[in-house]
Amino acid sequence: MVTVDRGRGHRVFQWVNGVILTGVVIVTLYPFVNIVARSLSDENAIRSGQVNLIPRGFTFTTYEYVVSDPTFWTNYRNTVVYTVVATLIAMFLTTCYAYVLSKKDLKGRTFLIGIAVFTMFFSGGLIPNYVLITSLGMKDAIWAIVLPNAVNVFNLLIMKTFFEGLPAELEEAAAIDGMSTYGILLRIVLPLSKAVIATMLLFYAVAFWNSWFAAFLYMSQTDLFPVTIFLRNLIAGATGASSVGADAMDLTVAANIKSVTMVLTILPILGIYPFVQRYFITGVMLGAVKG
């Protein structure tokens, strides 16, 4: 009897679950499909509000237009370069830092954690940061984007927790067999940490791909901007009619150009996500179990 009851309860739960999650999927997917439909539609159809989920006045011309803009591709390339370099640097630094912190007998460990956590709550402020980066000569260089944000404390703590959870006996055994500290890290610990590494990669890569603020602060040449700034500017140009007495000659950017740029910008992330996702799920649970 008990099992049947539980089965029925379970089925109801499954049902409710299914309904709610379907709702979530629709809510998440709708704006997405809408953007894709707009990107394939005729400008006038969008203006008159006919485009919803299916493209009206189907056309590829806007894609051709955006793709033929060299600035778009320069900025796209920048985003790729910034993301790859920044993620590699961030992974290297975060892994090293986290591994060190996971050693409970490390002298000054509390202090090292302390200075990291301190930056979660306090920062120098915008202008001091700007002055610092500028006087380090990093303005208009890739370093201004990839260095200041290299260690994310939240990610650092997740990684530290993961390393702490690995059985110490493994490392001891390796040490007894004559392995050096670096050998242990490279050959024992990292191969066992694929889940957390994949998660961190995803966290960092997505964050760097989407970021625009650092580039906005420190870059002053169009061909150094990432594609996020290109996109942000387009959207502002399409909605910027509110400045009174603005130049009558400044036209707005067509609505479908916005959509096309958005689609092209999210495509790579969209392509990578499903493949990293299974690591991601294991990885993201880590912090939850052990604090």
């Binding site: 203006r47 930056t119 202008i127 603020f213 502002a236 009619a241 509110s242 009174v244 603005a246």
Partner: protein
């Protein structure tokens, strides 16, 4: 990861601007000693003269990058400018989306380029206290074209509105020869024809027209307006405010307006004309002539209602009429005709500009550091030529005669056959802004009416002709606040503005009865309105005594 959101950014900038007030203002140089700053300068520069630096110079400019014509290095504008003036511009490119933030940041961090264009009047005020920008009014001797235009076009009163409490101004504004009205209402003239009605000339006429439209199409709201986000009634209350003498919406500014009869500033949101304006709109909403969503819906939604024939009247400017309304409307209903009508006349009679409207356009700030550079004089001459001489303005807007445009007689500009601008040559393969860099909002604005209207269509010129014939009220007198006063004023201004905005909507939408008006004014008084007015009028009196 360390991330800064916009609010934090603004806070940080604000804090810095205040701190920077304690900067080094002590070592003041004599303003008229230019012996060390004359590199490249012309000795015989004057109005109507072509500026050409005697040595090659280069100036950095904070460049507002417009997404419609993103900056390109191979623009004819850059090379031709170099040829004519011997000056190279180094643009420090900032996306339009965040231009204002970046401008605050670089000025605050002391890293601003010498030339900071695209600054609207009053936007320079927060930087004055920091001492980071130059009081340009002290250096007008170096700018013969600028001073010449002010004298010839009688712009002294307009420019005086820029003066700060110290009697100086810190922004070189763009100058218009005449007032320029762009925003008005667009109306479906085919519907008017069908109903046998003429184009409404006054706001009362409009009421009649809307009623007739409602009778014919009972299911529709004849008027559904846009430009309500983020300022409710941004354009409508601004345009109507002109006719009533009580600017709301985009024209609300600090909430005060000059009253000619009492020779004092009064609080707009509590004034009789403002009440009348709201009563008018309240009637429209009550009779279901004006869509109550007009003040909150997105522009796209309002346009969709117009295009699908659910509404017939909407706020418009010249560009939105041609670009945003007509093409989709023509597709949805080929017989529909939409026209931008001259601003309807209200209680003030035919006016084109109220006391609060000047003929100033966005302009240029100069970084204080530039004063000490070797080529300061040449830089001022260069700015004077490019932004304020007839030749410079013509060049910035139209480019090179024979290459990008042709001209037969004064004001008769035509783009070259292979060049398009604002749809004048829609089939042309090249674009004056995108491919040549002219008519660029950073460099080209203001100037003579002739030049301004040279890109207008015939119907827009007709609109301008009607509007230009109307009278302009004299510009309000200067009333600059000191730093401490400004801080105090901001504390009072913000809640007052919020209260006015909220109640404006309540009165219009019928959520509050006009019998409550006195109670509403009392509420404003409880929020320090009299003290605020006292501050503003005190500043006006003080300025008049000291500088008037």
């Amino acid at each position: 990861m360390y991330q800064v959101n916009r609010r934090q950014a603004m806070l940080a900038m604000g804090a810095f601007v205040v701190l920077a007030g304690c900067g080094d203002d002590g070592a003041k140089k004599k303003t008229d000693d230019f012996s060390a700053n004359r590199t490249g300068a012309m000795t015989d520069y004057g109005p109507g003269k072509q500026f050409k630096a005697t040595a090659p110079l280069s100036f950095t400019v904070l460049y507002n990058n417009h997404p419609f014509y993103p900056m390109k290095k191979d623009w004819l504008f850059w090379s031709e400018l170099g040829k004519r003036t011997n000056v190279t511009i180094q643009p420090s490119v900032v996306p339009l989306s965040d231009y204002e933030n970046k401008r605050s940041l670089v000025i605050g961090a002391g890293d601003a380029p010498p030339i900071i264009p695209k600054t609207y009047p009053a936007q320079e005020t927060p930087f004055v206290a920091s001492g980071a920008i130059l009081p340009v009014s002290e250096y007008l001797d170096l700018m013969p074209n600028f001073t010449d235009k002010i004298a010839r076009w009688n712009l002294k009163g307009d420019v005086d509105t820029l003066r700060q409490a110290d009697g100086r101004f810190y922004l070189l504004p763009g100058l218009h020869q005449d007032y320029w009205v762009d925003y008005s209402l667009a109306i479906r003239t085919d519907v008017l024809d069908k109903l046998g009605l003429a184009i409404p000339e006054t706001w009362d006429d409009l009421h009649t027209v809307l009623k007739a439209m409602k009778q014919e199409y009972p299911d529709s709201y004849p008027m559904s307006d846009r430009w309500g986000v983020p300022t409710p009634g941004g354009s409508l209350l601004n345009v109507m405010g002109l006719a009533y003498g009580a600017p709301g919406g985009w024209g609300y500014r600090n909430g005060v307006i000059w009253d000619d009869t009492t020779q004092k500033f009064v609080f707009t949101g509590a004034s009789e004309p403002y009440k009348q304006m709201l009563q008018y709109l309240g009637t429209l909403v009550k009779e279901k002539l004006l869509d109550p969503e007009s003040f909150t819906q997105t522009d796209d939604l309002a346009i969709q209602k117009l295009v699908s024939g659910k509404s017939f009247v909407i706020s418009s400017n010249a560009q939105s009429l041609v670009n945003e309304y007509r093409p989709p409307l023509a597709k949805a209903n080929p017989k529909a005709t939409l026209v931008k009508i001259p601003v309807p006349v209200g209680p003030l009679g035919p006016v084109k500009a109220g006391h609060h409207i000047t003929r100033l356009e966005n302009g240029v700030m100069i970084s204080k550091k530039a004063r000490d550079s070797k080529d300061f004089v040449a830089m001022m001459q260069f700015i004077d030529w490019l932004w304020y001489s007839d030749a410079g303005e013509e060049f910035a807007k139209w480019g090179v005669e024979g290459v990008t445009y042709t001209k037969d007689g004064p004001g008769a500009y035509k783009p070259a056959p292979d060049v398009d601008i604002v749809g004048l040559n829609p089939k042309a393969p090249k674009h004056l802004q995108k491919d040549f860099g002219f008519a660029n909002g950073v460099f080209a604005y203001g100037g003579t009416t002739e030049l301004l209207e040279s890109t207008f269509s015939d119907e827009e010129k007709a609109f301008q002709k009607v509007m230009n014939a109307r009278k302009a009220l004299p510009v309000e007198p200067p009333h600059p606040l000191t730093d401490e006063e400004r801080e105090q004023a901001t504390l009072w201004e913000t809640p007052l503005k919020d209260h006015v905005t909220q109640n404006t909507l309540k009165f219009i939408l019928g959520k509050r009865d006009f019998g409550d008006w006195d109670a509403y004014v009392k509420e404003l008084e409880g929020m320090n309105m009299p003290a605020y007015l006292g501050l503003v009028n005190g500043a006006y009196e003080r300025y008049k005594k000291q500088h008037g």
